[in-house]
Each structure stands twice: as structure tokens, then as C-alpha cells.
């Protein structure tokens, strides 16, 4: 393994920051959701890199669980976005300024 472990960590930090900026800057609910996926993936990369660094598999198992939870989250989140679109005719998060449907 010639690549220092810190390179993976810094890369995943940059990806996480891109995802953060996406959540903060974009207005389309689908784009915000994609940015959250990017953040989750960046954290998965961190987990796998630490698993390699510590020579054990707990990090990989945790990344696996996080993928499963992300899949469940995507299903529910997209259903919420679809029902929000049905209600308001838009997926712009600024239009969803009232909690009650």
C-alpha cells in the first residue's frame, strides 16, 4: 500500500464538504438529497480507510450497514419528495415553508 491513508481521509473530507455545500446552496429537493448521498459515501470511504489502517473489519461492516440504511433512507425520502410534488407542484424547498401539508 503505497498511498498514505491520510490521502483517502482528505479526499473523503473534500467530498463531504462538496456535499455540505450542495445541501446549503441548492434549492431543488432532489439535488439536496443527492448531496446527502454524496456525504454518506464520503463517510463510507473514511470508514473503509480506517478499517484498512487498523487491520480489522469492523469499519467495513459499519460501512455496509450505512449503505443499507442509506438505501432505506432513499426510498422514504423519494416517496416524501413525490408526495410533496403532488401537493405543491414543485420540488423547490423554498415553497415548502409550512409544516402542515
Amino acid at each position: 500500500m503505497r498511498v498514505p491513508i491520510a490521502d483517502f481521509l482528505v479526499l473523503s473530507g473534500i467530498l463531504f464538504a462538496i456535499g455540505t455545500a450542495g445541501v446549503l446552496v441548492r434549492r431543488n429537493a432532489l439535488l439536496i438529497f443527492m448531496s446527502v448521498e454524496l456525504q454518506l459515501n464520503a463517510v463510507n470511504l473514511t470508514l473503509v480507510a480506517f478499517s484498512r489502517m487498523r487491520n480489522e473489519l469492523n469499519g467495513q461492516v459499519l460501512a455496509f450497514f450505512s449503505m443499507v440504511v442509506a438505501a432505506a433512507e432513499v426510498v422514504v425520502g423519494l416517496a416524501i419528495i413525490v408526495s410533496m410534488y403532488r401537493r405543491r407542484g414543485s420540488v423547490n424547498v423554498d415553497d415548502a415553508s409550512v409544516l402542515r401539508g
Binding site: 500500500m1 490521502d7 467530498l15 455545500a21 443527492m34 470511504l45 484498512r52 408526495s83 410534488y85
Partner: protein, 194 residues
Amino acid sequence: MAELIVFWVFAPLAVASGIAMLLQRNAVYSALFLVVNFFALAVFFLMLGAEFLFAVQIIVYAGAIMVLFLFVIMLLGVDREERLVEPIRWQRPLGIFLGVGITAEIFAAVRAGVGFAAKAPGGFALVNQGGNAQAIAKVLFTDYFLPFEITSILLIVAAVAAMVLAHRRRGAVSGPPPAGPARPQPDREAEVAG
């Protein structure tokens, strides 16, 4: 040496596709850039000795999740460009500033915690003995057996929740509502009248 080349090819690719996703105005292109990003991350998983997660990443993320995303984008017909008027004036510069700030913070944390030169120790082949999937299965079905079972409950709950949320009530108008302010709901009108 080969590892260094692979890393320095795919790391800029991952960052560039992430930034492209962020800047792209069309949601479909954003989703496709995100697929590129997921593939690049899968390559990193392979480099780090996580062959099982490499396969899962491509099948679940690049396959299932992104297809679901594209499906919803096409279903809603929101592949038109979003409007760029910012209701909060300073939100965009502040968002970019916070993104840069968190990058700097992570740089500092990695430098203090791991060090930029720390190489991974050898002997990972011993951990992965008999294959990465088998080794993960051994950990998953012993130490993490209860969380694994709870995961199955989570997936069932998510599937039921998606059906409940996306279910169209009988008598509802078919097709998306016209753009603009929300229509008054018939049942709420009845509520107010009664």
C-alpha cells in the same frame, strides 16, 4: 507505483464529478455525475481491500439508488432548470464559505490525528483470509448479528412507509397539480365549512 497512479487518476475524477454535480443546473446531469462519483469511490474501496463493498457500492448505489433517483426525476418532470432567485441573499456565499471551512477543518484534523505520511500497515491479507466476503460474513453473523436482524425490520418499515407515502388516495385528481400555490384540499374545505 500502480496504486499511486490509480489513486491520482480517480481522486481528481471523484472531486471533479462531485463539483460538477453541485454546479449542474439540470437534475438529470447531476444524477449522472453522481454515478461517476460512486464508481470512483468503488475503485477506492477496491484499493483499500474491501472487495465486497466494491461490489455492493456498484450494485446498490450506482445501480439501484441512482436508478431510483433518475426514475423520480423523470416521473416528476423536474429536469427543467431550477430558478436561481435566492430568497436569502447571503445564503450562497455563506454555504460556499462553510464548505471551504469544513475542508480546512478536516485537513487539520487528519494532520493532527493520523499524520499525512502514515501508511497503512501490512498484513491486511491475513484479515481477509479466505476472501473479503467470507471474512465480512464471519464478523457480520457473529458480532453484528443483532444489528443485522434489526436491519431487516428497518427495510420492511421503509418499504411499507414508501407505499403509504406515495399512495394516491381514491378520488384524487390524476396527474401533477398545476404549478403555483397549493390547491385547497377538498377535505379541508369540508372541515372548515363543517
